[in-house]
Each structure stands twice: as C-alpha cells, then as structure tokens.
Symmetry: C2
C-alpha cells in the first residue's frame, strides 16, 4: 500500500491546478521569442512616475529590512489623499491578493457569490478556491448589469456580489449614480465588491462618493494600472473599519515588498504625473479607435487603459484575429464570454507600440478572413 503524507483538504483536492491568466512570458517562452508590443494585460506601458522609480531604486538598498507590516505611511498617505481615515484602508499584495483574503474571510464551501458572465477570472478563481458557488448574469449591451447582479444576489442569498466599474474586459462603465443605486440595493447578508482598478482613467462622476460608514460595499483600488506599477503588487481596499480590521485576522502581515511600499508612496505623491498618464492613455484610446476604423472595425467606448475592438463577426473570427496578432508579435487578449468575445482587447500603450499594432492589424484581419 502506498502511503500518503500530504493529505489535502477535500476542497483543495477537488480544485484543478489552474491559473486565471497565462502570462506573456509563458507565451514568449513557447514561441521562442519576445513580443514586440505588450498590449494584452492592461499594463500601463507609460510606466510609473520617475519619482516612484527613483524611490524604488533607492529602497533596493534597504531591502534587508522587512517592510512595515502596518503599511503605516502608505495607509496614512492614502487616507489623506481620499479624505478618509487610515482605519478604513487595507493595503495588500495587489487587488488579486486582497480578493483572496476577502474570499477567505467570507466564503466557505457552498456559499453563494454572484458576478457577471465573463468578468474578472481571478475573482472567480478565489471564490472557487474557497468552495464558493458562483452564480452569473450576462452583460447587457456590453455593460455589466447592476440590476441583474443585485437581483441574482438576492435570489441566491449571495455573500458577495462583484462588479468592476469601469469594467474589465469591456472598458465600459456606469455613472456614480447608477453604482450608488446598486450599493443602496445590496441585500442584507451580501457585500458588494466594487472593483475600481481603472477608476483613475474614468471621467468625473464615475466613482460614487466614498462613504466609509457604509457596510454594504468594499472598494478595491490599485497601483497596478494608472500608477503604472503592476509588477510591484500594491492594491488597497476601502471599507468600514470593522471589515478592514477583520483582514488582520488572516492576512500575511509581513507580505508587502518594502520596495513596493516606497514606490507606491512616491507614485501617490506625484499626482501631476498621474494626470499626464491619464491624458496619454486617453490619446492612446483615440488612436486605437482610429486604427480600428481604418480597418473597417468599431470600438467600444472605454473609461480604462484598454479598448475593446469589435471584430464584427463571431468569437471564432475574433480568436483568429487574436492568434494572427500574436503570431505578428503583438500580445493581446480577448473577452471570455459571448457575445463579448466577438471583440479583442487592446491595452492603451505607447505610440511606438500602437504603431506596431496599426501595422499588424490589417495583416491579421486579412489572414483571419481567409
């Protein structure tokens, strides 16, 4: 008889060894060469503030020290920035890390969770990882559907309901009023996860007023997108103090990279640079729209640093275009669920990268049309 030493929990045993996304490096290794334009992961190719780069560079010398487990300086700077109290802010290892902690706090096997069909896979990954049962509602006109999400959450007695505003992967968004109505309609026993990873790119009037007394919502923000620091792994959550404190029961207190803490602090402090990036990204969105129209395609309006390009046919065609782009060294991704998967998703990159995309797209379309 073979002996067993690592006895996984029944839940862990039942999970697939999976990954929400295949990284571009993995694709590069299997292709044998690098991408010419990295436009698939909604990374901010304009990069972080030079002040943040300098701060990280300087912090490298101090990396023999653990980071401050309280993230004191960053939480206080964020509190000042948002005009709220530090007790309402959790700093964690990216929104991904915080979603994992949130799942662990709230979800046990059989608990119900609601999201949109085709929304953020990493949220779904964590829900499944704690045994949650995911209910989904479809997008409506390429937007997440707040009413349907709330109705479904009430129907199944969900512990969590998730929405991203602006949305990923479509880039569409709702007004602050619509989202506030959604918050107001959250059923008793349910917490709304409002993922605002892309909020800095969105027009004024997209984010509801921060109300730290509201127990119905936890809001997720990040330094990965507008601040251009995806690789640093710094996200934060805003919620009622009682919920924020609960994370201290389970989080990896010494989990934050000290260099990343320093970088985020400096990035936050450089709001003029942020404004410049937001402007550059808006320019890149317009450029992607122009490139699409030059090729007879249309785009969806976007309040993010990416644009969904409607390839005008079915998912198979969009996938063929995507495969051709990748073969032409342009890293892009596409939505997972129909009918959104008629689109491909292009990050709002630098002009030189969009030149490469502009040159590759007609070739990719021609090849896909064969």
């Amino acid at each position: 008889m073979t002996k067993t030493y690592a006895r996984l929990t029944p839940l862990a045993d039942s999970l697939p060894a999976t990954v929400p996304f295949v990284g571009p490096e993995t694709q590069e290794r299997s292709r044998g060469h690098a991408f010419a334009a990295r436009l698939g992961a909604n990374e901010n190719t304009f990069g972080p503030s030079p002040k943040a780069i300098a701060a990280m560079s300087n912090a490298a010398t101090d990396v023999w020290m653990y980071g401050d487990p309280e993230n004191f300086d960053l939480r206080h700077a964020l509190a000042a920035h948002h005009g709220i109290a530090p007790e309402n802010i959790l700093v964690g290892e990216g929104i991904d890390g915080i979603l994992g902690y949130l799942g662990r706090l709230l979800i046990e096997p059989g608990d119900k969770v609601v999201t949109s069909q085709g929304a953020y896979p990493t949220f779904n990954y964590h829900v499944a990882g704690f045994g949650g049962v995911l209910g989904t509602v479809p997008y409506i006109d390429d937007h997440e559907d707040p009413n349907a999400l709330i109705a479904k959450a009430a129907e199944v007695g969900a512990k969590l309901v998730y929405i991203a505003n602006p949305d990923n992967p479509m880039g569409t968004w709702h007004s602050a009023d619509t989202i506030q109505r959604m918050i107001d309609a959250v059923p008793d026993g349910c917490l709304l996860v409002l993922d605002e990873a892309y909020i800095e790119f969105a027009p004024e009037g997209t984010a509801p007023t921060l109300n730290i007394e509201d127990p119905r919502v936890i809001r997720m923000r990040t330094f990965s997108k507008a601040y251009g620091m995806a690789g640093a792994r710094v996200g934060y959550a805003i919620a009622q103090a009682e919920l924020i404190t609960a994370f201290n029961k389970i989080r990896n207190h010494f989990g934050m990279c000290r260099i990343s803490q320093a970088g985020a602090l400096a990035a936050l402090d450089d709001q003029p640079y942020l404004a410049e990036v937001v402007q550059n990204v808006a320019g890149a969105r317009a450029r992607i729209d122009q490139i699409a129209r030059d090729n007879g395609l249309s785009t969806l309006p976007s309040a993010t640093n990416f644009v969904a390009v409607d390839c005008g046919r079915d998912a198979g065609f969009a996938k063929a275009v995507l495969d051709q782009l990748i073969a032409l060294d342009v890293f892009v991704r596409m939505p997972f669920a129909p009918p959104q998967n008629r689109c491909i998703r292009i990050s709002a990159g630098r002009p030189d990268e969009l030149d490469i995309f502009a040159s590759a797209l007609p070739k990719a379309l021609a090849a896909a049309r064969v």
Copy 2:
C-alpha cells in the same frame, strides 16, 4: 434590527485580529524616534549583494509589467543551483506566504498540527487561521526535539509537523543525520515542514541531502536571511512535484513582485558575496558571544544570523534587560516560551551596530538588576 452585510465564516469570525510580530516601525512610532541598532528581527544587516541591489534598481523601470507568474527564471536558476528539477520548486511571497498556502492546502477546522512550544509564531498563526489544532512539545536542552515532535505527531494523527533547522529563536541545530532520521520516522498521513530559513549560515552537514522523491517532507528556503532580502518577500519550497503542483490550485499566481524576482535571481548568482556574508555573520556571532561574556553572561551556540544570550535568571529578568535595551534604542526580541525566555535574541549585525549593543548591554543589565 441592524443589518449585516459582511458575513464572515464562523472560523474567520472566531479568530482574533492579531499579528505574529510587532514590527520595529510600530515600536519606533510609539517611541517617537528610530532605533539606533535594528537587531531584533534577524534581518541581515549586511544587506544583499550589490549585484542584487543593481538588478532591483534596474527592474524598477520595468515595474509596469506584471512579474512572470511561473517564476520561470528563478525556479530554473534554483533548480540548477540545487541540482534538482524546477518542477520540485515553488517560489512564493516569503516562507510566511508559502506557509499560508500550505495551511490552506492541508488544514481544515479540527485538523491536528504539531510544533515546538515557542517555535515560529507565524506558522502557528496560519495553522490557527485555517482552524488547525496545534499540539506542542517542549524544547530539550534549548534544541527542538525531533523524537518528541514525531511521537506527538503520531499520537495526535497530525497532518503537519514543523521543525526549523537551524532553529529560531534559539539558533541551535541538529545534524543532517538527525533530521534525516526524523524524516524517515514521519508517520503516514503527516507531512514534515522542514524550515531551513537559516541553512546557509549552518555548518556543512546540517542539511540532509535533497531528495525530491521523498513525499514526507517539504523544505522551506528563503532570500530573507543569508541573501539579505527580507523586504523583497521571496521564499521557496522544495518538495515532491505532485505537492508543488498542488500550490497552483490556490496560490496568487501574479503575487510576486517583479523587482524581487530580479533581485533574487541576481543574489543567487552571486555566491561569492553570500560566502562573504556568511563569514561576516560568523564574525558577528563571535562578537556577540564576547560581548555577553564581557558582561558575565553566556550564549548558546548558533548556526544562524542571531545569537541567544542567556541572561542567567528568569524570564522576568530577561524581559527587563530587553526593555532596557529597547529604551537604549537597540531593537531586540526574545523567545516566547519558558525556559528559553531566560534569553534575549540578538541579530548578528554589522560591527557598528554591535558597538551600540556592546555599549548598551552593561547599562541594560545594571538597570534590570535594580
């Protein structure tokens, strides 16, 4: 009736909001000024290789990109370094992060886990965080007791049994032969967590041969100690491929800081610098021993980058000495459990820091003796 929106799991609800360690920054904030010598967290004050610092500094520019979720380059470099396959290596957010993942994979409420009374609190934190029931055995002659640990694991039907070799907080160690006998005695249904965070400081013959086919043990290594990169959060585990793969079910795939990945790769590549640090740390240990003896105290032999100084009386006295040292701006910690808490634990820091310790210790002892 007050409505409830965030329904914590019964387990999460039952956990205290706690932290395994209070960070030195927290103490500095409450004191109102900084420590003069940071000798409490076994950080490597000699710092990382200049090549690692340069690599992190350079990587700051690329931080707009997510890190490679497969940690491909680092896993392959570690595999070459250890002469094993990359499939047997998990890279994670420090040993702390990996211990959290391991707990999640194996522990559900009521599961039994065994460790030494007074051993690594963060391991205990994660076990409790998943509802595990911790059984402990005492140290024997200031060493962890492999036989007692195994006997206890068998007695309670433990899923995990933990030992650190060399040990923290005492710095003592067992030979590879003793640890191999422990591995050979692991009961069916139990996994040995062999925490080798300090192994690079230990004499030859402390680490058993790596046997990646052995399903009875998972070994933890880190860049936080000898490699001097505590703030970067890079640890790794070595185990049978099947167990390593299981982490892919639940880990935060995009959780690693890209800068830290680059730093670890460069640090690993600079083995001459590592050898130099190990030598410097040995010198610092000897110096701490001399300082202790100059003050009529003795030390425990250590195979780590810290030294347990036996204050020669009870825990209350050791605590008084520690408090006095902290009042004199020397950050130190002490073991938690009797009789080990008759000692204080001093990190093997730079000569300038040990000068400060040497000057503070007689004053602290005099004040504590009052």
